[in-house]
Amino acid sequence: MALILVLIAVASVAFHLLSPWWWTPIASNWSYIDTTLIITFWITGAVFVVIVLFMAYCLWRFRHRPGRQAAYEPESPRLEAGLIAVTALGIAAMLAPGLVVWSQFVRTPPDAAEVEILAQQWRWSFRLPGTDGRLGAADIRHVGDDNPLGLDPQDSAGQDDVVIDGGDLHLALGQPVKLLMRSYDVVHNFYVPEFRAKMDIIPGMVTQLWFTPSRTGSFDAICNEVCGSSHYAMRGRVVVEDEPTFRAWLDRQKTFSQRAARSTSTREAGLHRPAIDAR
């Protein structure tokens, strides 16, 4: 048993060092999260190895042999107090950096660009502000076949909003973004492993999340809160590109008013499916 415990300690450390499975290369500002994680790995790893090896030593050194008698030692307040102090110190060393980073996580920078994400079973839609830089109001009451995000047709701020229904979300490199996330059915979660950040999306309210893309590329966005039988297939794509490419892409997208005009024309052509009765 003692030998096996030593092997477990050694094998665990070896696995950690040699594992080909490690986090994805980071693509956002949240490298602080990785740093905190590494600190936690070091502290907890050391504690694990020390305690398991100590146990292994005890099991070997104090194994039963004929005539052996155990010591009688009910407690040792000094030793216990010392251990509590050391533990508290270790805990503080992990908690303090964690809380510092969290305070950055919860404070969105004022220059962050707003982007809306609408999650529905089982797809992603996105909305970016148009030339006015503001997102128009939206509500579940306005949702219809030609208005999947439920934008308020009366709100002028929403007319120039870029609506992406079924396509990829593009973001500009180095520009902080604040995601405003909504759902019209169940709880979802927006997660891009390379960004490290994630947040649940709750129907009936708007949740938010901010980060700054720090690397160009194309990344999988997945739903990370179980949302029904096709949860695993609810996938999207985020493309991070430099500012000019992003602008060019944005200009090619249709705004809300353009989409509305198009769907009116198709309806007039009699090609449109009958609108579902919204009770």
């Binding site: 048993m1 415990l5 477990i8 696995f15 594992s19 080909p20 499975w21 490690w22 986090w23 994805t24 949240w30 999260i33 905190t36 994680l37 936690t40 694990f48 305690i51 398991v52 005890c58 099991l59 104090f62 052996r68 010591a71 009688y72 030692e73 009910p74 407690e75 040792s76 216990e80 992990m94 908690l95 964690g98 809380l99 969290w102 996580f105 919860v106 529905q120 579940i140 076949d145 169940v186 492993p193 490290r196 994630k198 709750i202 129907p203 009936g204 309210m205 949740t207 990344f219 999988d220 997945i222 990370n224 179980v226 949302c227 029904g228 039988s229 949860h231 695993y232 996938r235 579902i276």
Partner: protein
């Protein structure tokens, strides 16, 4: 009240004489509708282990899909979500909670405290039969139209009761009804355990002379009595939302293009209710395991548990703190993010009393006389897996580190290690340890060794590497990960490896089952006290103990439960009911 039970601390007015007990009149009332806590314990444990085997088979099917996607054509996405939901719910509630409190609690509380039975035997019997009913309702959902619910064991609304989730029609209703029944049944048992501990201890059995097993079960029961009502409320409200169309948890919803007649409810409210129960639930399972493992280590290392008083206070402190950490399951739930500061701090503080317990277990080994019996092997394996799972808890409790790891396989690996593998190892250790008292026969030690090594090393090989999949970003509750760019092909190899080990570990449980049944008749006779232990359950006049436990006179307690290897004593253990003052220990 005769002189025989007037101990140093005086008698308790609630101690029943043997004549006051309800005596069975027939085979039915003796073995089926029994009011004897020992029989109820066996019924509870038997039912829980039986449903646990169902959960084990479900876990095989889960691993079949994850390790070899597409191989089992009968597992589609809907079936997969039903599998994980039922596996989780059965393991957490119907196996772990029931086995520790209903099984070990019923058997050990009266015997370890020198009581004749639980104080409310009829209620105790009712508790089991309602639990059985809850299990049957749960099992019925497998056969209901649409199958059991596939909402995930957390049952988050709105999806739990909407059409996009499998089992929406019958499964979720049966699940909620079953939970409500379970809670009602548990409350009847729980009231019993608490009152028995407080009122029916033998003369001399002060609270600070109780074995840590009883402290663990007692504190866990108090937690359960306070935590389960939150789940009850959540279950009742969700049932109303589902059946009567109320909107406690349901905001305005569009489902498949249709606007539903819901509005104004809060999905997050359910999450708070669920985790207000759900986090103490972790300790409802862990505290009895802490207690039992303390007694196993002390007995088999022939040494008093190190720092008994600190161990008791650590149990109580963990119990109290466990009620102020629940929202660490909800860091990325969309709740007010400033809660994160509070809940991360309380969560990491709870690590301190927990660490004390680990230190004291390993310090008990120091300068002991360690017998590597099968129960001891399981106890040591518990420390390793619990330590591992506890340390990864520091990742997830530290709010910002949780963000990337939340809802990934890292979480799955963490909670399986800390509240799956670790408590189950204690259940096995406890069964090997107390089986001789329950049946009068020893379990076969060689089969026990085979069972132990496969289970321990296998479980470690399953769950340790799994953390690294989570670090990579592999989400939990994914039917398949094919097509995800960040998941390399090597992750599939690892998944296949984990699945193969899981099949072997699962199969090894058949060895245990065989041992359990075979030794009933063919095991070596155990005698009254095969482990030479100090606690009262080993000092009964008969083994297995008869109805009423103690014959004509209750035992009188003179010392704490850990007088092992006392200097100057003729043997290396001094039973709690042995009067001769051998040495005044530093602890009462």
């Amino acid at each position: 009240m005769s002189d025989a039970i007037t101990g140093p601390q005086g008698g308790s007015p609630l101690l029943p004489e043997a004549d006051d007990l309800y005596h069975p009149h027939s085979w039915w009332t003796r073995y089926v509708f029994s009011q004897d806590a020992k029989v109820i314990a066996i019924q509870y444990a038997g039912t829980a282990l039986a449903i646990g085997f169902v959960a084990l088979i479900l876990s095989w099917l889960i691993r079949l899909q994850l390790g070899f996607p597409g191989l089992a054509t009968f597992i589609g996405p809907a079936e997969y979500y039903q599998l994980i939901t039922m596996h989780g719910m059965i393991m957490v509630v119907y196996l772990l909670t029931a086995v520790f409190l209903g099984g070990f609690g019923n058997y050990l509380i009266p015997l370890m405290l020198g009581a004749r039975d639980m104080v409310f035997p009829y209620l105790n019997m009712l508790s089991y039969w309602i639990y059985l009913l809850a299990v049957l309702v749960l099992v019925a959902s497998f056969f209901a139209p649409g199958g059991p619910t596939g909402a995930g064991w957390t049952l988050y609304p709105p999806q739990a009761i909407l059409a996009g989730t499998p089992g929406q029609e019958w499964g979720i209703v049966l699940m909620l009804v079953s939970l409500i029944l379970f809670i009602a049944g548990f409350t009847m048992g729980g009231v019993n355990y608490v009152v028995t501990v407080l009122q029916a201890r033998a003369p001399g059995m002060t609270l600070m002379r109780m074995p840590l097993t009883v402290w663990g079960i007692f504190t866990a029961t108090v937690l359960a009595l306070l935590a389960f009502p939150a789940l009850l409320v959540g279950a009742v409200m969700m049932l109303l939302d589902r059946l009567l169309g109320t909107s406690f948890f349901m905001p305005a919803i569009i489902e498949a293009g249709q606007r539903l007649r819901y509005g104004g409810g809060s999905p997050i409210l359910f999450q708070h209710l669920f985790w207000f129960f759900g986090h103490p639930e972790v300790y409802i399972v862990a505290l009895p395991a802490f207690g039992i493992v303390s007694d196993l280590i002390s007995t088999h290392a022939r040494k008093n548990i190190f720092g008994y008083r600190m161990m008791v206070w650590a149990i109580v402190a963990i119990g109290v703190l466990s009620f102020v950490v629940w929202a660490h399951h909800m860091y990325v739930s969309g709740m007010n993010p400033y809660f994160g500061f509070f809940f991360a701090t309380t969560t990491l503080i709870i690590a301190i009393p927990t660490a004390i317990k680990v230190y004291n277990w390993v310090l008990t080994l120091w300068r002991g006389d360690i017998h590597l019996t099968v129960p001891m092997l399981f106890a040591i394996a518990f420390i390793v897996t619990f330590l591992n799972g506890g340390l990864t808890g520091l990742f997830l409790g530290n709010v910002v580190v949780d963000v990337p790891l939340s809802d990934t396989m890292f979480v799955v690996a963490h909670f399986h290690m800390v509240m799956g593998v670790a408590p189950i190892l204690v259940i096995f250790g406890g069964l090997y340890h107390w089986y001789p008292k329950v049946t009068g026969r020893m379990l076969d030690a060689r089969l026990g060794q085979v069972h132990f090594w496969i289970t321990f090393l296998g479980a470690y090989a399953i769950f340790f590497p799994m953390h690294y999949l989570g670090l990579l970003g592999v989400p939990r509750r994914y039917y398949e990960t094919a097509g995800l760019g960040f998941v390399p092909p090597s992750a599939e190899t690892l998944n296949a490896f984990i699945s193969l080990v899981a099949f072997v570990v699962g199969a090894a449980q058949i060895v245990f089952l065989f041992n359990l049944l075979h030794s009933l008749r063919h095991g070596a006779p155990a005698g009254g006290n095969p482990w030479r232990a100090t606690t009262l359950e080993w000092q009964t006049p008969e083994t297995p103990p008869s109805h009423g436990n103690w014959g004509p006179a209750l035992p009188i307690v003179y010392r704490w439960p850990y007088d092992y290897s006392v200097p100057g004593a003729p043997e290396d253990f001094v039973p709690q009911n042995q009067p001769a003052p051998i040495r005044a220990g530093a602890v009462p």
